[in-house]
């Protein structure tokens, strides 16, 4: 053992003498420093000028650094392992000791330098944060970014390329194979496969690491096992006695310990991948059909959140009107375990449909059916949505649960005209809970608060949002508006006049569309974490991701003392942020107020985009609204014409189903979000703005709390499909 330590020390000493390692450490520090600003160098416009703090600086530098330094360390490793081959020194070296010890010593030495590089790099970035940006340091973010993201990436690179080199005994082959694994990681949306820089775009300032911490650590565990497996395989195929790959394998196999360990880590990797506990494939359930013979009449969710452990305990009562069905299917969340299920008060056995997150419950042939489901556990999110599009999570600092996560099991039946929803959420008292509908009462029980609510809705979409919120309350045309945001972003909210804009949006929509749909329910506008990008609107609650109100202080220069736009350099980002809120607020008119029946390109998205565009045009003028919205919309619509497979349906057969689905989704999105508002603008151009908006006001009035089809809209607006064709 002492000899082996001596060997490692010797390698460390001579690697240092070669000076390449010093260059590598220096290069890493420079790359990490560049990485601080990496968000502004990407194509992700929505993350430009995010406010700098410990989480963004440490994470961005570590993520950017991991991407480049993993390649540099991989290259360094393979060159070190190939050194004796290139220099024809292997025979001399090997005559002194088993060459495996040399390989081991070199790999350990490189890992040692990876540790040193990580520490030096981290200190360098902390120094930049403190001395140049004068931002206080939160060491926990640095430890997370550098010990969980940066260093493991280097470690995986070193182990994987070592394994590949031992397996192929070729510098070229091992680098090419490693490159393929590397690129696959960068391109994948599956968080399990993104070992280089993880699936995260940014660490949430709002929610912290909590909601994604487990998934990141799990990803690291998986890739530690995978890289060990590759390394183990490499060792098993390590060339011996100038023999070929097969003969060497037979010789190496005699080492029972190595063989057993390699098999164990391979099995461990497989198990870790397949038994992954945090996500599920929510997208699979899109194909499930709706039973029209039974409709939902009411829901009563009684939920207790255990935010400390990220769990919930639920009892949800559903009442249905049955017109001849024998079963009800529920779309469920795989992370929530059903403890008991009762139909009309009697406990029954349900069936889980194979390969789907759906259960089937038998019901009696009676008109009124009540189903009570008791379940508990942690909400799973989509594998491809971790850190970017998480529809649901429960963490210590915040709770974010959208209907899309099926945290309230969704009955796959027709929704009635109006569904009565009432219930309560119990959460720790340090969290402010935002409930849908009307908050009836808040009770304090043993360190928890019970938030009781009720409302009627034409959908069964129920959300739950909680955090340590500040609440701004305003009233616009007798409508109460509650704006919830984290105190961390209060300065930006004040400086950028976000509350004034919300008020202004409400006034603009009231004036140009009509009265807000309800006097009973306040409109709740809620800041949520970046782990669900963009915004969302359901019933009287809209949410938007934190990046919208978490920009750098340099954005303050956009507005002068009179709140007029003075600096146009970053105005497009500001306009885009406000547009997101304006779009979601517009959904309260189109989506909640009027139920717009989808008929692509017709949907509530087109109307919401049209009105948010109109609002931005009013506030920022034609130049900004055209540059930020109109031109990109036209570009995206025109781009569709160049999609070969979209324009050649018969050729689609040659593609795989997943790709076709993704293409169709892209096409549909472009039609809903960009083509339709362009059509509406064409209608406005034909009729003139005043007449067109008056027409829309009439449509809104007539269809308030009712459905609206495309044909009805066109007819009532005196328009035709051909007239508003934008080709």
């Amino acid at each position: 053992m002492a000899n082996k330590i001596l060997l490692v020390k010797n390698e460390i000493k001579y690697m240092f003498k070669e000076k390449v390692i010093i260059l590598l450490i220096l290069a890493t520090c420079i790359i990490l420093a560049i990485g601080i600003n990496s968000l502004n160098m990407t194509n992700d416009f929505n993350l430009f000028y995010i406010k700098r703090n410990s989480s963004t600086i440490s994470f961005n530098s570590a993520k950017f650094g991991a991407t480049i330094c993993s390649l540099l360390f991989a290259l360094f490793t393979v060159l070190k392992l190939d050194k004796d081959k290139r220099k024809r020194s292997r025979t001399i070296v090997e005559s002194n000791l088993d060459y495996l010890y040399i390989i081991g010593a070199r790999i350990f030495s490189i890992i040692f330098y990876a540790v040193i590089t990580t520490i030096i790099g981290m200190i360098a970035v902390m120094a930049i944060q403190k001395l140049i940006y004068n931002i206080p340091i939160d060491i926990s973010y640095y430890l997370f970014s550098y010990l969980i993201i940066f260093f493991p990436t280097l470690l995986f690179s070193i182990l994987m390329i070592s394994g590949l080199y031992l397996l192929t005994e070729s510098l070229d082959m091992s680098v090419i194979t490693f490159g393929m694994i590397f690129i696959n990681s960068l391109e994948s949306n599956n968080y399990l496969l993104t070992w280089v820089r993880t699936n995260l775009d940014i660490v949430s300032d709002f929610a912290g690491i909590g909601p994604i911490g487990n998934t990141i650590i799990y990803n690291r565990l998986l890739w530690f096992l995978i890289s060990l497996s590759i390394f183990g395989i490499g060792l098993l195929f390590r060339r011996r006695y100038e023999s070929g790959v097969g003969s060497s394998f037979l010789i190496n196999m005699k080492s029972k310990g190595l063989l057993t360990l390699t098999i164990l880590v391979i099995l461990g990797s497989g198990c870790t991948y397949t038994k992954e506990p945090y996500t599920m494939e929510l997208m699979n359930d899109l194909d499930i059909s709706i039973d029209e013979n039974i409709c939902l009449d009411g829901i009563c969710p009684e939920i207790k959140f255990d935010s400390e452990n990220g769990e919930m305990d639920a009892h949800v009562s559903y009442s249905f009107i049955n017109n001849g069905s024998n079963t009800i299917k529920f779309d469920i969340n795989d992370g929530l375990k059903i403890n008991s299920l009762k139909v009309n008060g009697e406990e029954i056995v349900y069936q889980k449909i194979k390969n789907k997150n759906v259960i089937e419950v038998s019901i009696p042939d009676v008109e009124k059916v009540n189903v009570d489901i008791f379940y508990s556990g942690s909400v799973k999110c989509d594998k491809n949505g971790v850190g970017r599009g998480m529809p649901g999570y429960i963490s210590k600092e915040s709770i974010y649960l959208l209907e899309a996560s099926n945290w309230i099991f969704r009955p796959l039946i027709a929704e009635g005209d109006m569904i009565d929803i009432s219930g309560y959420y119990i959460a720790p008292d340090y969290l402010t809970m935002v409930v849908p509908g009307r908050l009836v009462d808040v009770e304090t029980i043993d360190g928890n608060k019970k938030w009781i609510f009720e409302y009627s809705s034409h959908t069964a979409d129920i959300g739950a949002f909680a955090a340590k919120y500040e609440k701004a309350q305003i009233e616009v045309n007798n409508v109460a508006v509650e704006f919830y945001y984290t105190p961390k972003h209060e300065e930006y909210v004040d400086n950028m006049k976000i509350v004034d804009h919300i008020k202004s949006m409400m006034e603009y929509y009231t004036q140009n569309i009509g009265e807000y749909y309800s006097k009973d329910y306040p409109l709740k506008i809620v800041e949520v974490s970046i782990y669900k990008r963009g915004g969302h609107s359901s019933e009287n609650v809209i949410t938007f991701a934190e990046n919208t109100i978490n920009r750098d202080n340099s954005m303050y220069s956009i507005l002068n003392k009179n709140n007029e736009i003075e600096d146009f350099r970053k105005v497009d980002i500001y306009a885009n942020d406000l547009n997101l809120i304006a779009h979601e607020v517009a959904h309260q008119w189109w989506g909640t107020g009027v139920n717009v029946i989808d008929d692509t390109p017709w949907s509530c998205e087109g109307l919401a985009n049209y009105f948010s565009y109109k609002y931005i045009q009013k506030e920022f003028g034609d130049m900004v609204s055209s540059g930020v919205f109109l031109q990109p919309w036209k570009y995206r619509v025109n781009e569709l014409k160049n999609y070969y497979y979209i324009n050649n349906d018969d050729m689609k057969e040659k593609l795989n189903e997943r790709f076709i689905r993704s293409l169709e989704m892209e096409k549909r999105q472009a039609e809903l979000y960009y083509l339709m508002p362009l059509k509406l603008l064409k209608g406005e151009e034909i009729q003139g703005e005043k007449v067109f908006l008056e027409g829309i006001q009439g449509v809104y009035r007539r269809h308030l709390l009712k459905d609206l089809t495309y044909d009805e809209f066109l007819q009532e607006m005196n328009l035709t499909r051909e007239a508003i064709d934008v080709d």
């Binding site: 000899n3 001596l6 060997l7 010797n10 001579y14 003498k17 070669e18 050194k83 220099k87 024809r88 020194s89 025979t91 001399i92 070296v93 090997e94 005559s95 002194n96 000791l97 088993d98 040399i102 011996r240 006695y241 100038e242 023999s243 010789i251």
Partner: protein
């Protein structure tokens, strides 16, 4: 130290590189391996240093099978391969320091390095990077690393290639002195090197051992098989024709005032040739010739 090879054979893709070799070496010994290119010398040496496995047969070192205790051998081994490279970015001293660590030299490491630097006359170059050294100097560095741990078994493959005559003599003596208490195996094409220092010679050809014994014994075997003849004018063609037929092998051709004087080795020397005392080189050629005759060529 005792090294025993029993029925060692090695095949490369069906071609036999070594064929049923049996050999026992005990220290002290200074052994010369000779044979033409492709005879199996390097293959045999690689097996002796544990870098190649035999297809069949066994090698034991001090009674322990080599494949079960390579560590035992490598701790006692010094090896200089025929074709080798060094870490050229290091200085001579750094390289030897690096190698000393690989050899597990902990105590008196500095002294060991000084000793081999002195033995290989590299004092002036000790602080020079290896890439700045000449071919002969690099060869000396190679030899220095091989003797760094004062090995019980020193195997050197063509060690005097690239060295000037003076250096060659020096290293021959170095190996010879070292063989007082250890085994030194020297592979070379230069018979003179063997003649000067080896107390034992092993002649290899086409994977077979043709001769094992003292050089004088090999010379003895060639007695009456080496002769000279001086040819005048057109008779030259005749003698070359005879060599082509395999009747003898010309080992030297000297132009004299009267014509050309040929030195030949033959299984049965024609009466026209004047018999002379064979040199070790003649004996080697005779051994090879005899081997070919036995193999039916």
């Amino acid at each position: 130290m005792n090294i025993k090879l029993e029925n060692i054979s090695k095949k490369y893709k069906g071609v036999k590189a070594l064929d049923n070799i049996n050999l026992e070496i005990n220290s002290p010994a200074m052994i010369g391996f000779v044979g033409p290119n492709g005879a199996g010398k390097s293959t045999l040496m690689k097996m002796l240093v544990g870098q190649l496995l035999p297809t069949s047969g066994s090698i034991t070192v001090d009674g322990v099978p080599l494949n079960k205790n390579e560590k035992h051998l490598k701790e006692r081994l010094g090896y200089l391969p025929q074709d080798f490279g060094l870490y050229e970015e290091l200085t001579v001293e750094e390289f030897l320091d690096y190698m000393a660590c690989l050899k597990g030299i902990k105590e008196n490491k500095g002294e060991s390095i000084d000793r081999v630097i002195s033995m290989t006359s590299l004092e002036e170059k000790r602080k020079f990077r290896i890439k700045t050294l000449s071919g002969g100097q690099k060869q000396r560095v190679g030899i220095a690393q091989a003797i760094l741990n004062n090995p019980e078994l020193l195997i050197v493959d063509e060690p005097t290639v690239g060295l000037d005559p003076e250096e060659r003599i020096k290293f021959r003596n170095l190996f010879s002195e070292g063989s007082k208490d250890k085994i030194v195996i020297l592979s070379t094409h230069i018979i003179e090197d063997i003649e000067s220092i080896c107390n034992s010679i092993i002649v290899l050809n086409k994977g077979n051992i043709l001769f094992v014994g003292q050089p004088s014994e090999l010379v003895k075997e060639a007695l009456d098989h080496v002769g000279t003849i001086e040819i005048k004018g057109n008779d030259r063609e005749k003698i070359l024709e005879s060599e082509m037929k395999g009747e003898f092998k010309i080992t030297s051709t000297v132009i004299t005032p009267n014509g050309t004087k040929y030195r030949v080795v033959s299984e049965s020397l024609p009466s026209s040739f004047e018999k002379i005392t064979p040199s070790l080189e003649d004996a080697y050629v005779y051994c090879m010739l005899k081997g070919e005759v036995q193999n039916g060529k």
